[in-house]
């Protein structure tokens, strides 16, 4: 009886500790496109990892709406229903990210482009304006709406808009300084911010770079790559930055890197509708793992379940004995010979490779670790995981 009472008290305590605010992370990424899919996949993985860090750092519950991969998932209808069904409170934050093909109508009045929400074979009916997404999210009344698109803004031949068309390489280290940078970005402001990767009549390119090993790597889109790079740099330095400063840095870098492009430099654009807000109360840096909120996507839900199970082994807020006990439930997800690859913030630098059993033992003994993010996995027949790519979030 006494044990039950303690459990109830503990559960109540946990319920009060979990903030009511939600960070709605919406991603539409054309990862299966024949021409740019590989580059978009990089954007998708890096942004989904960054969303976890953002939500964790400001103490918000993360709710994912991830639309990528097959045409049944990445399409215009899903965007329409996602926006229609988006339910947020005035304390919530909505971050919408798009990476894929885009363009603009010849008679377009907005500076921002339109997304092309079809995997490979598109028609004009697959288009949806980035600024309409921004307007619709703002209408839902969240405290902060960020809309960011990495796509072309050049004219699509023959497309006149019809008015009826709707329209670091290492593990992430979370410390007080890190959280302050994110809190300053998300909690000390309210309103909205919309950004696109190129000016009207400009195309956007996929960034490729040479690694230290001499190999050529896909960096994702120029805007996404520079945005994440500068954000992580400010976070590493623990230096506060505003949204406009962050994007000014990203614009300067993109412009410089694309100055010799045959079609001219690529210059991202943004519109800042932000104002100062009363700072939110400070959340503790390290908290127990957040039980995943159901997403629209089955793969994302499964990855979240695995990530939660691994986080229950590594999170230092969980009793050490409990962490060791949790190894058994985590083991159920893995095949006997499963390989675990740990990568850095950039999503491709391999920090560690191990087999699943050894990795789980390491997690149970780890100190100052907060949670695991699953970036990729392969499953055998019978759904057991044979390969998994993860990223670790540590705190100081």
């Amino acid at each position: 009886m006494k044990r039950y009472l303690i459990s109830i008290i503990l559960l109540c305590g946990l319920a009060f500790a979990v903030p009511a605010q939600t960070f709605h992370a919406i991603i539409f990424a054309n990862t299966k496109n024949n021409d740019i899919g590989t580059s978009v996949e990089v954007d998708f993985q890096r942004m989904s990892l960054e969303f976890t860090t953002m939500a964790k750092s400001i103490g918000y519950n993360l709710k994912k709406y991830y639309f990528y991969g097959a045409p049944s998932n990445f399409n215009r209808n899903n965007l329409v229903s996602c926006l229609r069904n988006l339910d947020c409170t005035p304390k919530d934050i909505v971050f919408f990210f798009y990476s894929g093909h885009g363009g603009r109508a010849i008679n377009e009045t907005s500076d921002f482009p339109e997304m092309i929400l079809a995997v490979n074979h598109s028609t004009f009916n697959d288009l949806y304006s980035l600024s309409d997404v921004y307007k619709q999210i703002r209408k839902k009344g969240p405290r902060l709406a960020i809309v960011m698109g990495d796509l072309c803004n050049s004219e699509i031949e023959g497309y006149y808009k019809d008015s009826s068309l709707g329209g670091s390489k290492s593990a992430t280290i979370i410390n007080k300084g890190t959280c302050d940078v994110y809190r300053n970005l998300f909690l000390n402001v309210k309103g909205g911010f919309i950004a696109a990767s190129s000016e009207p009549n400009q195309s956007s390119s996929c960034y490729r770079f040479q690694g230290e090993d001499g190999k050529i790597y896909e960096g994702g889109g120029y805007l996404t790559f520079s945005f994440l790079g500068f954000l992580q740099d400010y976070v590493d330095k623990g230096e506060d930055v505003s949204w406009s400063q962050l994007f000014d840095d990203a614009i300067a870098w993109t412009k410089y890197k694309t100055q010799n492009r045959k079609s001219g430099a690529q210059i991202p654009i943004y519109k800042d509708d932000l104002s100062m807000a009363t700072p939110e109360p400070v959340q503790p840096v390290s908290t127990p793992p957040q039980e995943p909120i159901q997403s629209n996507d089955d793969d994302t839900n499964y990855r979240d379940k695995v990530a939660y199970s691994l986080s229950m082994v590594c999170n230092e807020n969980i009793d050490r004995l409990e962490r060791i006990r949790n190894i058994e439930s985590a083991k159920h997800y893995f095949a006997g010979s499963a390989i675990v690859q740990v990568v850095g913030c950039d999503g491709h630098t391999i920090v560690n490779t191990s087999n699943a059993n050894r990795y789980l033992n390491y997690l149970s003994m780890a100190t100052s670790m907060d949670q695991i993010v699953v970036l990729d996995m392969k499953q055998e027949n019978g759904n057991k995981i044979s390969y998994i790519k993860v990223h670790e979030l540590h705190y100081q």
């Binding site: 004219e155 699509i156 031949e157 990767s197 009549n201 956007s204 390119s205 996929c206 045959k262 079609s263």
Partner: protein, 119 residues
Amino acid sequence: MVNMFDNISTLCDSIADYPIMRAVSTLNNEDIAIVKFILSDKNFYISDYEPVKQPFHPNFAIQFDSIAFLASFGTGEIRVFEPGKIDSCYFMGNYDSLARWGMRVFPDEEYYKLIVKKQ
């Protein structure tokens, strides 16, 4: 010589799955000589470039014997189809001259005037 601007419902052919209207007019010898000159320049074909985030949507297709050239001014790319070979995609090195040629051949099309003006 075909034009992609025209009403899609009149399409009756395709090249490599891209819908193409049958030739709407015959090119005169001067038009042919100009486009051959543009397309025969090796510097016109840039193979080392970063992929562009707009779908390849050809504005027009030109066919000489069995070799077809599809040009997309939105992406700035040209695709070359040769029988028995894998199709190749290039960035157009001299985009402007092909756009001017398009303006000459399709004088009523506002799109070419717009892109030439922006160069």
